[in-house]
Subunit: 353 residues, 2 copies
């Protein structure tokens, strides 16, 4: 069975500092070689360009990073247009843009929105999961991706699947979305078959636009207005009309749309996935040595266990350490225990990054 | 009472890697800004140039670093000749050289040999201690400097003082020198009034030369031969004759001379002193914040206690750490607990530094 072509839209407008000093507002993590040679933005592009399933990607980022994103596309031989946001307006505006941009080609285009900073090592299983969700999306559902939980994480939201929508059992209706739980609740979720919510979506452009008109009309109206008045400069980069985009209310796609609609479906993914939202998550996703150490760059572990080193330029040596993270970039060196990584955002603010 | 002028001789030929990555065989610690802006070599020079007590300093270093030493002298406005060793021959050869070089000016010159990598913050008290030792040295004693122990260190040798030689009680005969003790023995030493042996000496040039002729004639003979055939190139740097210096037996001054003679005296110093032989010693000698953290360079301590940061170029941030040392240079980053610093030499060898 051949599937319709899917329009991938990469959402690359984030500016997190939870991976400081690697990630800064000037040079956010999605454009950095977080796990090795390529950026997660480039890895995300590669995931949706190697197959007959996808159209050329569209990337939505902010004005500051549009040129960088274009260069990083070119580096890996990908050609795709970029839409540059002129202000930070959260994920609802970006998903609305994705739908509007895809609709220019085909009103009923299937749109796959993907965060540029997620890590999915198994591109093939990811592709099969997207394919599994296409029928539900084509039928008018807004499809979310639910991951089989590897452990009771308290840093992710969860999805409770409902009635199965296909014979494979991979696609179901959504009974409910639930916020980040405490550990006990998370343990209960695992036993009840809940899934991690990866925050990526597959939908028909017209379905999403209609949902916006119904639940968040101010957002779609301002976004459409700024998009129709965008200027292409330089080639391939469409700058939204700043004054009009400025008027867009800032909201998350979850609050603006997903939690208000009743036509959601979930497709279950059995691939390893991480939003690498903190340094301990980076440690976790990487291959480890016999002592449970993982690293990027030149690293040496001596009598050390459960450590992570990210080292740019120069070698980093850990001696006699347990569960310690060391991040060394050209800008700064950060050392902290693995269970303190939630403090990094605060540290970055403190140091003015 | 005016004292005779003292000839300071700085022994700057060491190449320790116990402070790796700051100290390497190519760029050893005495030429590095270990405690801040200036090198300990420069601090040592400053300690013996600001007073009417001292002649212009002589520096003994190895050929590789003679030019660097000359530049570092010039930086702080010190003019003094340099003697460049063409091979590593340990401290006995260096002290013999010091005596021979001082003797050219005055056969009975008082010579003060000083390690270039020791830290003595109180230059004034140091000067008073040297002055207190001059009479004993002028009378033909070889004077060692004994420090009142701040704690029962097991990384230093100790001196047992004997009969007092002056009314102040600062200068005594030496009953015995003892090797690095275990902790229990060290505690006993403290109760019995033993002193730390700082390994620096004050003596008459002719007395030391005579002692060499008696106890280590091969050393003084080869050193004298190579010194008399030295070439001055470039100006101010005297390169020993390589072939002749090569023949000098390598030995420490303690084994070659000090432990064999019976005319030693000890002058008691009440100043803070450290041989900064490891990173925990560097932490110890520096001023600390309320949480017992100390640092050189741009450092930030957040919820951290008892830590040390040496940071070159870029800031280093410690979050939630206890008793951890972080050393960040242009060449490498090293992270280890304070009680593992004895492993650094091994680490440096492992990494080929």
């Amino acid at each position: 069975m051949s599937s319709p072509l899917v329009q991938p839209v990469i959402l690359a407008g984030g500016s997190g500092t939870r991976l400081w000093p690697l990630s800064t507002t000037e040079f956010p993590k999605q454009f950095r070689p977080l796990l090795g040679k390529r950026s997660t933005f480039q890895d995300t592009l590669s995931r949706v360009t190697s197959s007959a399933l996808y159209k050329a990607p569209i990337t939505i980022t902010n004005q500051t990073h549009a040129q960088l994103a274009q260069e990083q596309q070119a580096e890996i031989g990908v050609a795709g247009i970029l839409i540059a946001e002129t202000a930070r307006r959260d994920s609802a505006a970006a998903v609305a843009l994705a739908a509007l941009a895809a609709q220019r080609d085909d009103p009923q285009a299937l749109v796959l929105t993907l965060a540029a900073d997620h890590v999915i090592p198994d591109a093939e299983e990811f592709r099969r999961t997207v394919q599994a969700g296409c029928a539900a999306a084509a039928s008018g559902k807004i499809v979310v991706f639910g991951l089989t939980p590897a452990e009771p994480k308290t840093c992710y939201g969860y999805i409770q699947p409902g009635t199965a929508l296909d014979e494979s059992g991979k696609v179901s209706d959504v009974n409910s979305f639930v916020e980040k739980p405490d550990l006990e609740t998370a343990l209960g979720y695992l036993q009840s078959g809940y899934l991690w919510n990866s925050g990526n979506f597959l939908f028909r452009a017209d379905v999403m636009i209609e949902a916006f008109h119904k639940f968040s009309p101010e957002i779609i109206s301002a976004v459409q207005d700024s998009f129709e008045n965008a200027t292409e400069l330089p080639k391939g980069i469409f700058n939204l009309d700043a004054e009009r985009f400025e008027k867009t209310p800032a909201d998350s796609i979850d609050y603006a749309i997903i939690e208000r609609i009743d036509n959601c479906a979930v497709v279950k993914g059995d691939f390893i996935w991480s939003d690498v939202g903190s340094w301990d998550a980076v440690w976790e996703i990487l291959p480890k040595d016999a002592e449970q150490n993982s690293h990027v760059g030149q690293a040496h572990f001596i009598e050390s266990q459960g450590c992570f080193i990210h080292s740019e330029g120069r070698p980093t040596v850990a001696v006699g350490l347990n569960d310690i993270i060391v991040v060394s970039t050209d800008d700064a060196v950060l050392v902290l225990p693995k269970d303190k990584t939630q403090q990094v955002k605060k540290v970055a603010q403190l140091l003015g990054s």
